[in-house]
């Protein structure tokens, strides 16, 4: 199975929508790789520079209702081609969350207090994901462990490498 985790990018805002993650004008690209330069281009977050801040990151940590708005799976693909494999947030919009699992990627929900703790670890934070155990280890200036629950079906989708593989085998 795919490995999950990496250095964390902290996006300290709720309701980050898929138009901010990948503006609609780029939805005319016909390959996923062509989306790469435009990731988070319209994110409304003071001081954020996608090119500088996204370098070497594998995990995004954010607040509530991440990925709301449009159904565009481009918002997941643009993370995938930028080597982001996991998003951790207080909550997700339904379609974005489903798109992540459908692509075999992780959308992990944690309680607000855990998210707050993640934001306050200090320094460059690296997140390790132990999927079978349902455990996250985050190491910054301080280290913290968190447990998470994955819907059993979402777990199967990740193991299958996505919904198309799973559906082709079962239906």
């Amino acid at each position: 199975m795919k490995q999950f985790g990496g250095q964390a990018l902290f996006l300290d805002r709720s309701d980050i929508n898929t138009d901010e993650i990948i503006p609609a004008k780029y939805l005319t690209e016909n390959t996923k790789m062509d989306l790469k330069p435009y990731v988070l281009e319209d994110l409304k977050l003071g001081g954020f520079d996608p090119k500088r801040d996204l370098a070497d990151k594998g995990v995004i940590v954010s607040r509530a209702n991440f990925g709301c708005g449009s159904s565009r799976e481009h918002a997941v693909w643009v993370f995938e081609v930028n080597e982001i494999n996991t998003v951790i947030a207080e909550s997700f919009a339904r379609i974005f969350r489903q798109n992540m699992y459908n692509c075999g990627m992780l959308a992990i929900e944690l309680p607000a207090a855990d998210i707050e703790q993640l934001f306050n670890l200090g320094g460059e934070v690296t997140v390790e994901v132990d999927l079978p155990a349902g455990k996250l280890t985050a190491k910054g200036e301080r280290t913290a462990e968190f447990s998470f629950n994955l819907n059993d079906f979402d777990r199967r989708l990740v193991a299958a490498g996505g919904w198309l593989n799973y559906a082709d085998k079962h239906y």
Binding site: D15, L27, N65, C68, V76, N102, F153, A167, D168
Partner: protein, 428 residues
């Protein structure tokens, strides 16, 4: 314990229950447009799976950027067009016959009570107005839908939204749904269905119900839904008259989908619209909503009337009430995009197009373009648009542009005044 409409639809379409929380549904309609479908098609080709589960259950339209504006959008259209031909999909709507998907497909009678519907488009929730379960999905869900005719969902809980009172003059379905989103917030209905009911909904046209259901997603809902009734049956009659001898017979059949009186709702919300005033958004989220009287005087650069939310014939009639015999302000430009060819033709026959043109509006072909800043009315940095669309996100209609969502009547009033203004003072 009884069941809600969506629970009944789920029970009737259940293919599999891989876990207690997840349900695999058989699909009645899979709808496709040129923005989210081409990558599904090319992926199916690459996997050697270039086939469809049932060409008659797949409905296809080019609507987001039409006519094509450049080589890339032309290629997206070509991929979709070639695929529809190759797969013998008869219901394919190309330029000249195309319109905004969520306005066009209902007009064609493709959506019926009790149906399950998906599309790679978040505003698919619009079709719940017909008593269907209709949900927006991503490209992978769409791809599996095309190939296998199934889609996975968690069983959603239902919030019942009772709309009571009497709609005041100058207040429309758009104002009601903006007010509801303000109360629910942008994630107040995530993983929920919004079931709209009550006397106000019972007397709403199908067009108004579609506006209501269309914006359910802006509160995070999986689907908006209205119970199918006589108004639904009358709208669908040209498409179902072979199936039933009378409208009452159709109605009796639709009854099976009605939520039971003892159905379990997670929550029941009641709204009295009798004192509601026209609503308008500020900021960058669709739950940032104020009474229009609080936004009076905010200058605008562009007026846009159209989209799957408010580009139907009733919307054009409402706007024309204010525009008739008037000119739009020198400070603004106005764009009207009737949502379908049928709406366009009806507007021509009723003299509405003339009213818009004489007022100074540009009338374009049916397309989604401007709503999401792809074509047909993109904003420049710092420009402000009074728009009948559904999202005021940062950059939605063009990088650096600002969008205020409102009803067609309020948008028309803003066009005349050159600024946001209470449209009720312009009514006769």
């Amino acid at each position: 314990m009884g069941y809600t409409i969506v629970e009944k639809i789920f029970a009737a379409h259940r293919r599999d229950t891989p876990t207690p929380e997840n349900i695999i549904l058989d699909l009645d309609v899979v709808m496709c447009h040129e923005i989210t479908t081409p990558i599904a098609i090319t992926d199916l080709e690459a996997r050697g799976m270039d086939r469809v589960f049932d060409p008659d259950k797949i409905k296809v339209v080019i609507d987001h950027v039409t006519p094509a504006k450049d080589s890339k959008t032309a290629t997206q259209g070509k991929i979709l067009r070639d695929w529809a031909r190759r797969q013998n999909i008869r219901d394919f709507f190309d330029i000249g016959r195309n319109g905004v998907c969520h306005a066009l497909f209902p007009e064609k009678g493709f959506i019926r009570p009790g149906y399950t519907v998906i599309m790679g488009d978040s505003h698919t929730c619009t079709h719940g107005a017909f008593g269907a379960f209709a949900a927006g999905v991503g490209t992978t869900d769409l791809e599996v839908g095309i190939l296998k005719g199934v889609c996975s969902f968690r069983l959603p809980r239902t919030i019942k939204v009772e709309i009571n009172g009497r709609m005041p003059a100058g207040v429309y379905a758009k104002d009601v749904i903006l007010h509801i989103i303000k109360k629910l917030t942008v994630n107040g209905a995530t993983d929920r269905v919004l079931e709209f009911g009550g006397p106000v909904v019972a007397s709403m046209s199908m067009e108004a119900r579609m506006t209501l259901c269309n914006m359910a997603i802006e509160a995070g809902a999986t689907c908006g839904v209205c119970l199918p009734d006589k108004i639904t049956a009358e709208y669908l009659w040209p498409f179902i008259k072979e199936q039933y001898t009378t409208i009452d017979e159709a109605l009796a059949d639709f009854q099976e989908w009605h939520s039971d009186p003892d159905a379990a709702y997670e929550q029941v919300l009641e709204f009295d619209v009798s004192t509601l005033v026209p609503q308008v958004t500020y900021g960058f989220k669709p739950d940032e909503v104020k009474d229009i009287t609080e936004m009076e005087g905010v200058p605008v650069d562009q007026i846009y009337i159209g989209s799957c939310t408010n580009g139907r014939i009733e919307d054009l009639r409402e706007a024309a009430r204010v525009l008739k015999g008037k000119k739009i302000s020198d400070q603004v430009r106005g764009i009207l995009s009737p949502a379908t060819p049928k709406v366009y033709n009806q507007a021509l026959e009723e003299g509405l197009i003339k009213i818009f043109q004489e007022a100074g509006f540009c009338v374009t072909n049916p397309t989604c373009g401007a709503c999401l800043g792809m074509s047909n009315g993109v904003l420049a940095d710092g420009e402000i648009c009074a728009s009948t669309t559904n999202r005021n996100f940062n950059g939605r209609m063009g990088k650096g542009g600002i969008v205020h969502l409102m009803s067609p009547l309020s948008a028309a009033a803003a066009a005349v005044a050159g600024k946001i203004t209470d449209p009720r003072v312009m009514l006769d």
